[in-house]
Amino acid sequence: MSPSDPAASSRPRFELPPGTGPDEPVFAEPWQAQAFALVVALHQRGLFSWSEWAAELSKQIARPGAAQDGSDYYQHWLSALEVLLSEKGVAGPDRIDAVSASWQRAAHATPHGQPILLENDPERR
Protein backbone atom coordinates (compact mmCIF):
# COMPACT_ATOMS: atom_id res chain seq x y z
CA MET A 1 0.00 0.00 0.00
CA SER A 2 2.72 2.49 0.95
CA PRO A 3 6.21 2.29 -0.42
CA SER A 4 8.64 0.97 2.14
CA ASP A 5 10.94 3.60 3.48
CA PRO A 6 14.57 2.54 3.75
CA ALA A 7 15.32 5.22 6.34
CA ALA A 8 12.58 3.98 8.61
CA SER A 9 14.49 1.03 10.01
CA SER A 10 16.88 3.42 11.71
CA ARG A 11 14.04 5.31 13.35
CA PRO A 12 13.10 4.52 16.91
CA ARG A 13 10.38 1.95 17.20
CA PHE A 14 6.89 3.04 18.11
CA GLU A 15 6.25 3.30 21.83
CA LEU A 16 2.94 4.20 23.29
CA PRO A 17 3.28 7.44 25.28
CA PRO A 18 2.40 7.17 28.95
CA GLY A 19 -1.02 8.38 29.98
CA THR A 20 -2.58 7.48 26.67
CA GLY A 21 -6.21 6.56 26.89
CA PRO A 22 -9.58 7.23 25.39
CA ASP A 23 -10.08 10.29 27.56
CA GLU A 24 -6.84 12.11 26.88
CA PRO A 25 -7.44 15.77 25.94
CA VAL A 26 -7.32 16.35 22.20
CA PHE A 27 -5.66 19.76 22.49
CA ALA A 28 -2.79 20.39 24.88
CA GLU A 29 -3.29 24.17 24.92
CA PRO A 30 -6.09 26.54 23.90
CA TRP A 31 -4.10 28.06 21.00
CA GLN A 32 -3.93 24.62 19.40
CA ALA A 33 -7.71 24.36 19.39
CA GLN A 34 -7.98 27.87 17.94
CA ALA A 35 -5.43 27.15 15.22
CA PHE A 36 -7.34 23.99 14.39
CA ALA A 37 -10.63 25.88 14.19
CA LEU A 38 -9.16 28.63 11.97
CA VAL A 39 -8.23 26.04 9.38
CA VAL A 40 -11.63 24.35 9.52
CA ALA A 41 -13.37 27.74 9.15
CA LEU A 42 -11.16 28.98 6.29
CA HIS A 43 -11.60 25.72 4.43
CA GLN A 44 -15.36 25.98 4.84
CA ARG A 45 -15.20 29.45 3.44
CA GLY A 46 -13.42 28.07 0.41
CA LEU A 47 -10.05 29.79 0.89
CA PHE A 48 -8.33 26.47 0.17
CA SER A 49 -9.28 22.91 -0.64
CA TRP A 50 -8.69 20.17 1.87
CA SER A 51 -6.18 18.53 -0.45
CA GLU A 52 -4.22 21.78 -0.62
CA TRP A 53 -4.27 21.90 3.15
CA ALA A 54 -3.18 18.28 3.61
CA ALA A 55 -0.36 18.76 1.10
CA GLU A 56 1.01 21.81 2.93
CA LEU A 57 0.61 20.19 6.36
CA SER A 58 2.44 17.07 5.12
CA LYS A 59 5.26 19.29 3.89
CA GLN A 60 5.62 21.00 7.26
CA ILE A 61 5.45 17.74 9.18
CA ALA A 62 8.08 16.16 6.92
CA ARG A 63 10.65 18.85 7.68
CA PRO A 64 13.69 17.55 9.57
CA GLY A 65 13.63 17.81 13.33
CA ALA A 66 10.01 16.93 13.98
CA ALA A 67 9.46 15.71 17.53
CA GLN A 68 9.13 11.96 17.75
CA ASP A 69 6.30 12.24 20.24
CA GLY A 70 4.19 14.42 17.96
CA SER A 71 4.14 17.23 20.54
CA ASP A 72 5.00 19.83 17.89
CA TYR A 73 2.14 18.81 15.61
CA TYR A 74 0.15 22.02 16.04
CA GLN A 75 3.28 24.10 15.49
CA HIS A 76 3.48 22.49 12.05
CA TRP A 77 -0.23 23.07 11.67
CA LEU A 78 0.26 26.78 12.37
CA SER A 79 3.23 27.01 9.98
CA ALA A 80 1.19 25.35 7.23
CA LEU A 81 -1.63 27.84 7.79
CA GLU A 82 0.77 30.79 7.60
CA VAL A 83 2.23 29.46 4.33
CA LEU A 84 -1.23 29.12 2.77
CA LEU A 85 -2.29 32.60 3.95
CA SER A 86 0.84 34.03 2.37
CA GLU A 87 0.32 32.09 -0.87
CA LYS A 88 -3.28 33.24 -1.08
CA GLY A 89 -2.24 36.85 -0.54
CA VAL A 90 -4.17 37.17 2.71
CA ALA A 91 -1.24 38.02 5.00
CA GLY A 92 2.49 37.68 4.69
CA PRO A 93 4.97 36.81 7.45
CA ASP A 94 5.83 40.47 8.13
CA ARG A 95 2.25 41.40 8.83
CA ILE A 96 1.74 38.34 11.03
CA ASP A 97 4.98 39.11 12.93
CA ALA A 98 3.88 42.69 13.51
CA VAL A 99 0.40 41.88 14.80
CA SER A 100 1.83 39.05 16.87
CA ALA A 101 4.32 41.45 18.52
CA SER A 102 1.46 43.85 19.14
CA TRP A 103 -0.46 41.11 20.96
CA GLN A 104 2.57 40.34 23.11
CA ARG A 105 2.99 44.00 24.07
CA ALA A 106 -0.72 44.16 24.80
CA ALA A 107 -0.41 41.11 27.05
CA HIS A 108 2.47 42.74 28.92
CA ALA A 109 0.51 45.92 29.45
CA THR A 110 -2.60 44.14 30.69
CA PRO A 111 -2.83 43.62 34.46
CA HIS A 112 -3.08 40.00 35.47
CA GLY A 113 -6.61 38.70 35.66
CA GLN A 114 -7.99 41.07 33.06
CA PRO A 115 -8.77 40.12 29.49
CA ILE A 116 -5.97 40.86 27.06
CA LEU A 117 -7.14 43.31 24.41
CA LEU A 118 -5.15 44.40 21.41
CA GLU A 119 -6.08 47.99 22.31
CA ASN A 120 -3.83 47.62 25.37
CA ASP A 121 -0.72 47.62 23.19
CA PRO A 122 0.98 50.94 24.11
CA GLU A 123 2.56 51.18 20.65
CA ARG A 124 -0.68 50.68 18.81
CA ARG A 125 -1.93 53.45 16.47
Binding site: P22, F27, A91, S100, H108, L118
Partner: protein, 226 residues
Protein backbone atom coordinates in the same frame (compact mmCIF):
# COMPACT_ATOMS: atom_id res chain seq x y z
CA UNK B 1 6.19 24.52 25.20
CA UNK B 2 4.61 25.54 28.45
CA UNK B 3 7.89 25.82 30.31
CA UNK B 4 10.09 27.67 27.89
CA UNK B 5 8.77 31.16 28.19
CA UNK B 6 9.51 32.27 31.71
CA UNK B 7 10.90 35.61 30.70
CA UNK B 8 10.78 37.26 34.13
CA UNK B 9 11.77 40.54 32.60
CA UNK B 10 11.76 43.78 34.57
CA UNK B 11 9.27 43.98 37.37
CA UNK B 12 6.35 42.73 35.37
CA UNK B 13 5.91 39.50 37.29
CA UNK B 14 2.19 39.99 37.47
CA UNK B 15 1.67 40.86 33.87
CA UNK B 16 0.20 38.50 31.37
CA UNK B 17 2.51 36.59 29.10
CA UNK B 18 1.48 35.23 25.76
CA UNK B 19 3.14 32.07 24.55
CA UNK B 20 4.71 32.92 21.14
CA UNK B 21 2.41 30.43 19.42
CA UNK B 22 -0.64 31.80 21.23
CA UNK B 23 0.36 35.30 20.11
CA UNK B 24 0.65 34.18 16.49
CA UNK B 25 -2.75 32.52 16.57
CA UNK B 26 -4.25 35.69 18.07
CA UNK B 27 -2.56 37.71 15.32
CA UNK B 28 -4.08 35.45 12.67
CA UNK B 29 -7.51 35.80 14.28
CA UNK B 30 -7.14 39.59 14.27
CA UNK B 31 -6.03 39.75 10.64
CA UNK B 32 -8.61 37.26 9.39
CA UNK B 33 -11.41 38.99 11.29
CA UNK B 34 -10.38 42.39 9.91
CA UNK B 35 -10.47 40.95 6.42
CA UNK B 36 -13.88 39.46 7.04
CA UNK B 37 -12.63 35.93 6.42
CA UNK B 38 -13.66 34.55 9.81
CA UNK B 39 -16.19 35.27 12.49
CA UNK B 40 -14.65 34.88 15.99
CA UNK B 41 -17.90 33.44 17.33
CA UNK B 42 -17.83 30.76 14.65
CA UNK B 43 -14.27 29.90 15.64
CA UNK B 44 -15.36 29.45 19.26
CA UNK B 45 -18.22 27.24 18.09
CA UNK B 46 -15.87 25.01 16.11
CA UNK B 47 -13.55 24.64 19.11
CA UNK B 48 -16.50 23.77 21.33
CA UNK B 49 -17.76 21.24 18.82
CA UNK B 50 -14.49 19.42 18.41
CA UNK B 51 -13.52 19.54 22.07
CA UNK B 52 -16.79 18.32 23.46
CA UNK B 53 -19.28 17.13 20.89
CA UNK B 54 -17.50 15.24 18.17
CA UNK B 55 -15.67 12.23 19.36
CA UNK B 56 -15.37 8.52 19.05
CA UNK B 57 -18.95 8.12 20.27
CA UNK B 58 -20.18 8.95 16.76
CA UNK B 59 -18.10 6.11 15.37
CA UNK B 60 -19.19 3.82 18.18
CA UNK B 61 -22.80 4.35 17.16
CA UNK B 62 -21.96 3.48 13.59
CA UNK B 63 -20.24 0.26 14.67
CA UNK B 64 -23.02 -0.71 17.08
CA UNK B 65 -25.63 -0.23 14.39
CA UNK B 66 -23.60 -2.36 12.01
CA UNK B 67 -23.40 -5.10 14.66
CA UNK B 68 -27.12 -4.93 15.32
CA UNK B 69 -28.45 -4.54 11.79
CA UNK B 70 -27.04 -6.68 8.97
CA UNK B 71 -28.64 -4.41 6.37
CA UNK B 72 -26.84 -1.41 7.77
CA UNK B 73 -23.57 -3.36 7.91
CA UNK B 74 -23.97 -4.24 4.26
CA UNK B 75 -24.65 -0.58 3.37
CA UNK B 76 -21.65 0.51 5.46
CA UNK B 77 -19.42 -1.93 3.60
CA UNK B 78 -20.71 -0.78 0.22
CA UNK B 79 -20.98 2.99 0.74
CA UNK B 80 -19.67 4.10 4.10
CA UNK B 81 -19.97 7.82 3.28
CA UNK B 82 -23.73 7.53 2.75
CA UNK B 83 -24.38 5.03 5.55
CA UNK B 84 -22.53 7.24 8.07
CA UNK B 85 -24.23 10.39 6.77
CA UNK B 86 -27.61 8.71 7.37
CA UNK B 87 -26.82 8.95 11.11
CA UNK B 88 -26.18 12.68 10.76
CA UNK B 89 -22.38 12.49 10.70
CA UNK B 90 -21.15 14.23 7.60
CA UNK B 91 -17.66 15.37 6.78
CA UNK B 92 -16.72 18.99 6.45
CA UNK B 93 -13.79 18.27 4.26
CA UNK B 94 -15.83 16.50 1.61
CA UNK B 95 -13.86 13.36 2.25
CA UNK B 96 -15.06 9.88 1.44
CA UNK B 97 -15.24 7.23 4.10
CA UNK B 98 -14.48 3.57 3.77
CA UNK B 99 -15.30 1.10 6.52
CA UNK B 100 -12.97 -1.87 6.75
CA UNK B 101 -14.35 -4.88 8.58
CA UNK B 102 -12.27 -7.12 10.81
CA UNK B 103 -12.82 -10.83 10.29
CA UNK B 104 -11.44 -13.90 12.06
CA UNK B 105 -8.70 -13.98 9.39
CA UNK B 106 -7.93 -10.30 8.90
CA UNK B 107 -7.28 -7.44 11.28
CA UNK B 108 -7.32 -3.89 9.89
CA UNK B 109 -5.15 -1.00 11.01
CA UNK B 110 -5.51 2.64 9.93
CA UNK B 111 -2.67 5.13 9.60
CA UNK B 112 -1.86 8.30 7.69
CA UNK B 113 1.77 8.03 6.65
CA UNK B 114 1.91 11.56 5.20
CA UNK B 115 0.34 13.62 7.94
CA UNK B 116 -2.72 13.01 10.02
CA UNK B 117 -5.74 12.31 7.83
CA UNK B 118 -8.31 10.84 10.14
CA UNK B 119 -12.08 10.30 10.09
CA UNK B 120 -12.91 13.33 12.26
CA UNK B 121 -16.63 13.06 11.79
CA UNK B 122 -16.80 9.68 13.44
CA UNK B 123 -13.72 9.68 15.68
CA UNK B 124 -13.13 13.34 16.58
CA UNK B 125 -9.64 14.83 16.64
CA UNK B 126 -6.87 12.23 16.42
CA UNK B 127 -4.82 11.25 19.47
CA UNK B 128 -1.25 12.56 19.72
CA UNK B 129 0.37 9.21 18.94
CA UNK B 130 -1.56 8.92 15.66
CA UNK B 131 0.11 12.13 14.45
CA UNK B 132 3.60 11.27 15.72
CA UNK B 133 6.34 10.09 13.30
CA UNK B 134 6.96 6.67 14.93
CA UNK B 135 3.37 5.51 14.50
CA UNK B 136 3.15 6.91 10.98
CA UNK B 137 6.23 4.99 9.85
CA UNK B 138 6.05 1.87 12.00
CA UNK B 139 2.38 1.04 11.43
CA UNK B 140 3.30 0.24 7.83
CA UNK B 141 6.66 -1.42 8.40
CA UNK B 142 5.97 -3.36 11.58
CA UNK B 143 2.25 -3.37 12.32
CA UNK B 144 2.51 -6.37 14.61
CA UNK B 145 5.12 -4.59 16.72
CA UNK B 146 2.94 -1.49 16.93
CA UNK B 147 -0.08 -3.54 17.99
CA UNK B 148 2.06 -5.22 20.68
CA UNK B 149 2.81 -1.74 22.08
CA UNK B 150 -0.92 -1.29 22.48
CA UNK B 151 -1.07 -4.64 24.26
CA UNK B 152 -2.81 -6.27 21.32
CA UNK B 153 -1.42 -9.70 20.48
CA UNK B 154 -3.11 -11.31 17.51
CA UNK B 155 -2.78 -14.95 16.50
CA UNK B 156 0.24 -15.58 14.25
CA UNK B 157 -1.94 -16.53 11.31
CA UNK B 158 -4.13 -13.42 11.48
CA UNK B 159 -3.38 -11.21 8.51
CA UNK B 160 -2.90 -7.52 9.28
CA UNK B 161 -3.98 -5.08 6.60
CA UNK B 162 -2.77 -1.51 6.88
CA UNK B 163 -4.84 1.27 5.31
CA UNK B 164 -3.15 4.57 4.52
CA UNK B 165 -5.60 7.47 4.80
CA UNK B 166 -5.49 10.48 2.51
CA UNK B 167 -7.20 13.85 2.42
CA UNK B 168 -9.84 12.36 0.11
CA UNK B 169 -10.37 8.92 1.60
CA UNK B 170 -10.47 8.12 5.30
CA UNK B 171 -10.83 4.69 6.80
CA UNK B 172 -12.49 3.44 9.94
CA UNK B 173 -12.23 -0.08 11.27
CA UNK B 174 -15.37 -2.01 12.14
CA UNK B 175 -14.17 -4.45 14.79
CA UNK B 176 -15.76 -7.85 15.26
CA UNK B 177 -18.67 -7.95 17.66
CA UNK B 178 -17.48 -9.35 21.01
CA UNK B 179 -18.87 -12.69 22.17
CA UNK B 180 -21.61 -12.83 24.79
CA UNK B 181 -23.26 -9.63 23.61
CA UNK B 182 -26.52 -11.20 22.45
CA UNK B 183 -29.49 -9.26 23.71
CA UNK B 184 -27.58 -6.03 24.30
CA UNK B 185 -29.23 -2.88 22.97
CA UNK B 186 -27.52 -0.71 20.38
CA UNK B 187 -26.68 1.84 23.08
CA UNK B 188 -25.11 -0.86 25.22
CA UNK B 189 -23.17 -2.20 22.25
CA UNK B 190 -21.92 1.30 21.44
CA UNK B 191 -20.39 1.55 24.90
CA UNK B 192 -18.17 -1.43 24.09
CA UNK B 193 -16.67 0.28 21.06
CA UNK B 194 -13.45 2.13 21.88
CA UNK B 195 -11.71 4.73 19.76
CA UNK B 196 -8.68 2.49 19.38
CA UNK B 197 -10.80 -0.41 18.18
CA UNK B 198 -11.94 1.79 15.28
CA UNK B 199 -8.34 2.73 14.41
CA UNK B 200 -7.34 -0.90 14.71
CA UNK B 201 -4.92 -0.49 17.60
CA UNK B 202 -7.36 -2.10 20.01
CA UNK B 203 -10.34 -4.39 20.32
CA UNK B 204 -13.81 -3.59 21.65
CA UNK B 205 -14.41 -4.06 25.35
CA UNK B 206 -16.00 -7.24 26.64
CA UNK B 207 -19.39 -6.77 28.31
CA UNK B 208 -17.97 -7.81 31.70
CA UNK B 209 -15.46 -4.96 31.68
CA UNK B 210 -18.16 -2.32 31.52
CA UNK B 211 -18.51 -0.82 34.95
CA UNK B 212 -21.05 1.86 35.71
CA UNK B 213 -20.10 5.02 33.84
CA UNK B 214 -17.29 3.27 32.03
CA UNK B 215 -15.89 4.72 28.84
CA UNK B 216 -17.95 7.85 28.57
CA UNK B 217 -21.05 9.15 30.26
CA UNK B 218 -23.95 7.66 28.33
CA UNK B 219 -26.10 10.66 29.16
CA UNK B 220 -23.80 13.04 27.27
CA UNK B 221 -25.33 14.02 23.98
CA UNK B 222 -23.01 13.16 21.13
CA UNK B 223 -24.49 15.94 19.09
CA UNK B 224 -26.03 15.72 15.70
CA UNK B 225 -22.79 15.49 13.82
CA UNK B 226 -20.89 18.36 12.39
Amino acid sequence: MTDNHHYHDHDHHHDNELDPFAARVKALETILTEKGLIDPAAIDAIVETYEHKVGPRNGARVVAKAWAEPDFAEWLARDATAAIASLGYTGRQGEHMQAVFNTPDTHNLVVCTLCSCYPWTVLGVPPVWYKAPPYRSQAVINPRGVLAEFGLKLPEDTRIRVWDSTAELRYMVVPMRPVETEGLSEDELARLVTRDSMIGTGLPLRPGSLGPGALWPPEADPGAGI
